[in-house]
Symmetry: C2
Subunit: 399 residues, 2 copies
Amino acid sequence: MNAYVTGLTARDSSFVTTANTDQPAVSRVEAYIRAQDFARPTLVIDTEAVARQFAALAQGLGRARIHYAVKANPAPEILRKLHSLGSNFDAASRVELQMCLDAGAAPEQLSFGNTIKRASDIAWAHEQGIDLFAVDAEEEIEKIAANAPGARVYLRIIVDATEAEWPLTRKFGSGRDKALALIAMAKDYGLNPVGLSFHVGSQTRRAAMWAPILDQVAAVWHAAKAEGHELTLLNIGGGFPAFYGREIDAPALYAAEVMRLVQERFGDVPEIMAEPGRGLVAEAGMIAAEVLLVSKKSDDDLHRWVYLDIGRFSGLAETEGEAIRYQFATARDHETTGACILAGPSCDSADVLYEKQPVQLPLGLRAGDKVMIRACGAYTSTYASVGFNGFPPLDVVAI
Amino acid sequence: MNAYVTGLTARDSSFVTTANTDQPAVSRVEAYIRAQDFARPTLVIDTEAVARQFAALAQGLGRARIHYAVKANPAPEILRKLHSLGSNFDAASRVELQMCLDAGAAPEQLSFGNTIKRASDIAWAHEQGIDLFAVDAEEEIEKIAANAPGARVYLRIIVDATEAEWPLTRKFGSGRDKALALIAMAKDYGLNPVGLSFHVGSQTRRAAMWAPILDQVAAVWHAAKAEGHELTLLNIGGGFPAFYGREIDAPALYAAEVMRLVQERFGDVPEIMAEPGRGLVAEAGMIAAEVLLVSKKSDDDLHRWVYLDIGRFSGLAETEGEAIRYQFATARDHETTGACILAGPSCDSADVLYEKQPVQLPLGLRAGDKVMIRACGAYTSTYASVGFNGFPPLDVVAI
């Protein structure tokens, strides 16, 4: 058995079913990284794995339409692959909308989902024929009415704290107490308020965690309908999880259960859209990194420090607060392991990945050793800084 | 009196002496930003202000050599200006070393100050004639001995928690208990261990805060000398502050007082180097940003939310944990102000700048209004992500 496999066998069974049912134990991405040398940290993405995950989610979501959350990873190869499979897209900015159009998407397949939009970008999107916008405040309604007259809008509402691993703040959405007034205002401004959206919280590991959130949204939904607003679109947002070490539901089952919970509360909604990002691409990508230094600060220190050539400012931003816990594999995984503090290469003391909860890595690890970081397909490449400390951004290779 | 001046007059007297003694109340950068329209968030840097600050620090530092910490802002215009003034440089990576060489610096003016270096980058630096390296661990000594035989190295040591505003962790440096053994090891490996370095902590506002740190370093210094190690170089690192709203010592006085504290403890050290980064360039830069949205989540909310077109992932990374508190100016500063939560434009709920301690901004602020962010010359442009959410990196203009 290959040394690289030990990390895989430690995974729980749900992961094995999520991405690799009919695959050999070492994925295509892992085999690729093992066979290559990399001059700098590189994200390798398997577009076939993205396609398999899309199929699994689409199966579970049934009649709900998938709008891939482009911000998770806008690599053109991913956008083209998803477009070829019939995916729609959710974009956060004009640049992302343009990338979707460049990948072949039609304007009616796009949603401008950021609630914070520049007026000139709304006007540009409207000119392109994009006709679906997120909104959560009076001023945003005014901007859309002025720059995309008559457009379809959905109102994003705030839902209360969830069990997600990267929880949302109150940054996005309107309070539920204001929802009906904003829908009425959108109508007064000549817009077409077609429905509601919300976000259950990124990396919501279990479908069952959606239930209390859906209850909150359903209350607003039914109140709006009772007041005569004809809502036809429910946008259930993202939150679909990836495997980072803690058990998650398999994607088709997860999506089907979410849809069952939706059906139970909302009945036959004409249009449902879902915006998986992380849940669609994270597991399809792996980062090839390298150890730069292993050291002990004092002879009686409990833990080593292991420094990689990638850190919080060059792709691993989601380790902030140690929120997302990546899994690591090395060529020494058959050796004895020990706890270590893991840090990035920059001269910034905040560039520490895991310290409160140290990571188990082989004791023999040395400068120059290759380290593979699993499930890095989402929220890595575009988070990388342009060149903090002179380190180049994460390279991306699609296979 | 101009509306923009109100922010300035609220500053304490030490700031006024730091950058603008012989300047009009509105700085060159501020005048430039007021006169222009910007299509995207833009950092405007006044290289003349950098030069004035260099002169002030150099005056205070006396015989200590300034090595500008390039990571603070590697804009070629800044590097060329500082080179023309006789500055030396401290670089964190091969790319930064190359930028210094490109700006005209000689190899002997450069220090490779990152304690975490790729072996091939050490070899490359050695080939260029760069002969001064930071080190804090056995494996790094091995790498330098193998790739830059005979090089001068200084040992970075850990100092205990300081009163700095962006405090350092134990990420960099060796424990003081290991210092003498590492110096001896460097000698055994044929290197030339010339001295010690440390970092008092970024944004250490008062020179007096250096005293207890210098005591710790001096104890190691004198112990090493007592053991027969002939140390000739003391690198006092950075920590020189910029004005972000809390009073700081004026730069020349600050630097002179630090040097007095050093002299008191170390005597006549042959070579002293200082590595100001933030303290040299922060106040010379200002970001031109724009309001994208102002909203209230609920009618009974205490605070508004104000969303800018720049956030934590597009240049304002140092607002993490609300550590660095930037000062803002708008064209409405003569109007009544109120507290608001300030956030960035991305679809990431972590992209909130100030929430625990809200910011006072004019109540009339609206989407489209220009916002100027002061003292942004350091740790902004290179921290910006390559394109998270499709937002372009911070633009940089040097005047």
